[in-house]
Symmetry: C2
Subunit: 363 residues, 2 copies
Amino acid sequence: MNKQKNLYLLALIFISACSQNESVGNNSEAEDQKTFNWRLVTAWPKNYPGLGMAPERIANLVEEMSNGQMKITVYGAGEQVPAFGVFDAVSSGSHQMGHSGGYFWKGKAPAAQFFTGVPFGLTADEINAWTNRGGGLELWREVYEPFNIYPIPAGNTGTQMFGWFNKEINSLEDVRGLKMRIPGIGGEVLKRAGGIPVTLPGGELFTALQTGVIDATEWVGPYNDLTFGFHQAAKYYYYPGWHEPGSMLELLINKDQWEALPKHLQVIIDTAAKAVNQDILDEYTARNNRALRELVDVHGVELRKLPDDVIAEFKVIANDILEENAAKDPTVNKVYQSYKKFKEEVSAYHKVSEDAFVEARND
Amino acid sequence: MNKQKNLYLLALIFISACSQNESVGNNSEAEDQKTFNWRLVTAWPKNYPGLGMAPERIANLVEEMSNGQMKITVYGAGEQVPAFGVFDAVSSGSHQMGHSGGYFWKGKAPAAQFFTGVPFGLTADEINAWTNRGGGLELWREVYEPFNIYPIPAGNTGTQMFGWFNKEINSLEDVRGLKMRIPGIGGEVLKRAGGIPVTLPGGELFTALQTGVIDATEWVGPYNDLTFGFHQAAKYYYYPGWHEPGSMLELLINKDQWEALPKHLQVIIDTAAKAVNQDILDEYTARNNRALRELVDVHGVELRKLPDDVIAEFKVIANDILEENAAKDPTVNKVYQSYKKFKEEVSAYHKVSEDAFVEARND
């Protein structure tokens, strides 16, 4: 029933968009000055720090730049649709916009994961470069096209932490039987290494950790993790975040409604999202260190590095899984080949540029 | 004479800006719909790839987002003012906008260098975070305020290469007497290590290298260097670019004329510059590797790493120079203390996040 209704609405919107274009033409004055009130649903709690503020900032910029012509109202997860209902809401056109992470939609579009990030993949700068200047964006739009969704990059967390643990990880042996909340390909890697990946929403993690339902959880990084209070429920904070090296967030737009917008509003939305994409990374980059120091110095958290042989094993497994997934699905394979080639090239260059510099600076 | 004329023009502009504000008020319809035709002068050759395209892209975005209300015409170096005349042109108001690098203006404002980058300093992501979320932007605006200039970050080259050499650098001994084109604090470091820093505009570097007037030159990185043909005039290509770890470019705006703009056009300019700031880095990140491979594989360039003891000595000297400069000038000191503290904090965090990840990925 809902689907039928949505299809009907979609058809109406489509017809109305077409007739607008026909009757007034592009960039006519009437079309250009029409006002727009759009609704944006998110996969995050309302006003959640860092990534959750990306849609609010995009909405503010769009309203200011359009001088009030376009107003976007942002709804937190659960206010109008549940967190994992964002993709369908934008696809059906019940809501014009959404903000989320592509890897949430791997059940619908398995290739979507590459547009957030994959284990041992691209860092923030690298995924930006692949998306905007290396062919990634065109592939992303192709992957979401059957869902009538137009995606734009809109935020990045930078390299995450591996997460919070109540068990020490000194060897691969310690991974066996480990119950950890870790979604996506990271979870598949843990499973193949003998662990037990668990899926739980963010709001339930603290209690699950404290009561021993799970032994460990990943989340984002110090700036976000501190506000969730994980240090009161777990002893060890492990790095590096091999599973999420530079997670990119997404602004989802219903494609029919996007195409019916006057050109200047399209450029305003696209540019606002680009500016916020960097702004969110800037915020994490600026705030994570102080939060980490507070966790370690004030709350006595033990910061630990994952042993090299555990990381090496995870890397082998992650690579196997990526290759197997690509062999199963031509769309996944197409995106994977582009991502993999870009990673080989960009990491070769970064070895003689930023990586070599950072090593010299830190020595 | 010219200065007086400029002051007179400035006064006129200021009065006219004030009277506009008084007569029509902020955001009145008349004020909001007034059209603007601005001129932007740059320190780069017209349509120079990478950094030189930043002002063109900003101009396009502003025109599209404002739906034609604001038009910016971009002039290459020498078309209306020489490369190093950009700061004065914007300061006087003869041109409303400029695009350049802050370290060009160290003679006028010694603290300006920190807003491009300093040896062994912040990488691209780090300088973005310091500027936008760590207090850097407020300091930058304070430093340029006496010149009536309002700066906005507008592009980043990423970590540069150390440059092109016709002499091998195997030890500190080889640096003595080395004639190298290297501007700014990098040049001061070379001088104190026994080398001879030379200042030459980009267009003269090829001939100077080929005729032996200089032994070496730094420029940007493979993507830009390939187009200049340096591989035909030098044997060795050295890394890492310790002297320019993530050079940020600047959009300069005459402050009086900025303040007289309607609010929505201010936000449009600011957001366009933010989007282009990332776009230019994306372009370098995506293009540098292929250019480097072409240099090495097709043109037989020898890629070399600077010896560790040479880098270590440069780092000690760079640190001494930064401390000495700060002791001489309270404004430099204020900016330096903010930059230094941010660098300590962000590099500590990056050691357990992105750096640790990259090490794990590349092992």
